[in-house]
């Protein structure tokens, strides 16, 4: 659905069903340079399972206009305001990559409480190398291409996909190219500059789930494992794939999230 939010056209994926705030809401937060399309197989799956699903395209991403947020905190405030605007409470927030940092920060600032937090390919910190930071400014399209290649496990190289006929690389590149060219630069700097992750992780009081990827080259497994140690009782799973586990292992991820959700309340 498209709404006018903070004076800008804002797109929110709802998994093919209309938003119903009487149902439990799952809020998916996309990663750096991504948009709602990186969660297509989660959004539709959970919308059809009876959840209300929102996958906002952050400003300047996907179909959303507006100026890109310039820090993780700004991203979290934007999401917080959006949840208030949509009158959504007790949401389960599911972040992927940068979306995990935003979820951590959101949990700190949120006025109303969150129901649970789910971290997909997440960590408390996502340092970005200088080469990629520079490239995202000078040649964002090239930077997208590199991230798509690094981001996928062997299924990317081999064009192996559970979705018949789809190519992780071809699709991933074009999803990133849909964003405004400046979006990636601000995302990567936001990740690189974020340093409150340890505190934020230690502060989590709601149920938490982490699904990490064995061959993650963007948020390495080692970093993810350190991160989950900071969270009290974080249920942790490791899948054999790369960083883009929502599209690389959709069924496994959905099933882990589904059984975690069924244990809430």
């Amino acid at each position: 659905m498209i709404i006018n939010f903070k004076d800008a056209k804002t797109y929110i994926g709802t998994g093919g069903k209309s938003l119903d705030n009487t149902k439990k809401t799952l809020c998916f937060l996309h990663g750096s340079g991504q948009n709602h399309l990186s969660f297509v197989q989660q959004a539709r799956f959970f919308a059809y399972k009876g959840y209300s699903v929102i996958v906002p395209d952050m400003p300047a991403h996907g179909f959303s206009d507006g100026n890109p947020c310039k820090s993780i905190k700004e991203n979290a405030e934007w999401i917080n305001d959006l949840l208030v605007d949509l009158k959504l409470n007790d949401v389960v927030v599911i972040g992927h990559s940068q979306g995990c940092l935003v979820a951590l920060e959101l949990n700190r600032i949120l006025k109303s409480s969150l129901e649970a937090l789910i971290f997909v390919a997440g960590s408390n910190e996502i340092p970005v190398n200088q080469f990629l930071l520079d490239l995202s400014k000078e040649k964002p399209q090239k930077a997208c291409q590199m991230m798509v290649t690094w981001g996928h496990g062997i299924d990317g190289d081999m064009s192996i996909n559970k979705w018949p006929g789809h190519s992780h690389y071809g699709e991933g590149n074009n999803i990133m190219c849909m964003n405004k060219p400046t979006a990636l630069k601000y995302d990567l700097h936001s990740c690189n500059d974020y340093s409150d992750g340890i505190d934020a992780a230690k502060n989590i009081k709601v149920p938490a789930l982490a699904v990490l990827a064995k061959n993650d080259q963007m948020t390495p497994l080692k970093s993810g494992l350190k991160f989950v140690e900071l969270i009290k009782n974080c249920e942790t799973h490791i899948l054999d794939c790369g960083h883009f586990l929502p599209s690389e292992r959709p069924m496994e991820l959905n099933s882990i999230i589904n059984s975690f959700l069924s244990k809430l309340k």
Binding site: R44, Y48, D157, S159, I160, K162, G165, I175, M178
Partner: protein
Amino acid sequence: MSENYKFDTLSLHAGHIPDKETGSRAVPIYQTTSYVFNSTEEAASLYNMEVGGHLYTRISNPTVAALEQRLAALEGGASALACSSGMAAMHLVVSAICSSGDHIVASSKMYGANINLLQHTMPRFGVKTDFVNPNDPEAINRAIKPNTKLVFGEVIGNPGLDIMDVPEIAKICNSKNIPLVLDATFNTPYLMQPFKHGANIIVHSLTKWLGGHGIAIGGAVVNGGNFDWGDKDKFPTISGPHFALGGISFWEEFGPSALIAKIRAEGMYNFGPSLSPTNAFHLMQGIETLPLRMKKHIENTHSILDFLVNHEMVEWVKHPDLETHPDHEVAKRILPKGSGSIVAFGIKGGREAGKAFIESVQLASHLANVGDAKTLLIHPGSTTHSHLSSEAMKEGGLTDDMIRLSVGLEDINDIKKDFERGFKAVKKLNK
């Protein structure tokens, strides 16, 4: 892990890794119509397009999907869909995008069935086409109307071998937000990858060089994922509400793969031109050696061009790699590895000479296909166009002495010897 494999490697591997259970190195042929659901929930999630997977072979099949993913990788596209023939692929694209009242701009020099579909069949359903010279980007620009929904052409035209200036035409289409759809059968991704030049959708007849062995008919649509379908008024079938699935917009739900999602949900569901898993296997087997074959096709073509150009019995030779071809400069720029292995040539002595030549060669096969590993020949003047006068053939850009040659992979000297046998018969006739 992030190897970014090159073309030759992808030709062999893309779309398949051996499964843990059987270890089968070759892509298994899943010769099945349907797939057991583990639960009603799983069945529903496939019908609702919540997640990817297979439910019925008319819509998708694991062997066919391996082929599709290989093609998507070789073309650098977002997604691909394989179907029963090249013509099915063409029809799937046109019917997914166009509705009654819409307009198409197409090349006037294309394969007969491509022309027929647009000139005679689609108008019955209210979709009209204006045909323009494929090597005149400005003419294409002028032909575009407010209701034009796609521009279509063959990268290398069949049989005239006209070359489209793809980057120039893509610029025009892009500026007017109209998808450029290209039949890339004659070039294959080995010689040229149209998405790199700005095209948006590719259709292939896999029957030809991709399959490469003349054993299976098949086609494919490859979706570049690089087109913005967001204008709901202009592209209601892709970005407007779908008649099923709760009225979703394919563009909003599936973004870069919207077109393929639409074709699967409508074209494959309602028309059903599915590719058999066994044919998908045969076609993939062909693709494994595509780079090797294309290299040899081009090598043999260049050698035979030399032979024909210098032959006393040959009136004229047409191939884009010859300096005499009107599109030679464009060919050099966009097809630097060579512009395919189809050659047209005229034999001194007209229609009768062509007939005598065809009937005297032994090695080259006289038939109506192209792109086989074996050398193929046809003489339109005594076969497909035998009912036309010389004048009528000329109007269609053909001459009655013309032979269409699809250069195969045989030892080049054997092909030349075979042709000498044909020329000898013509000489006898001309005496």
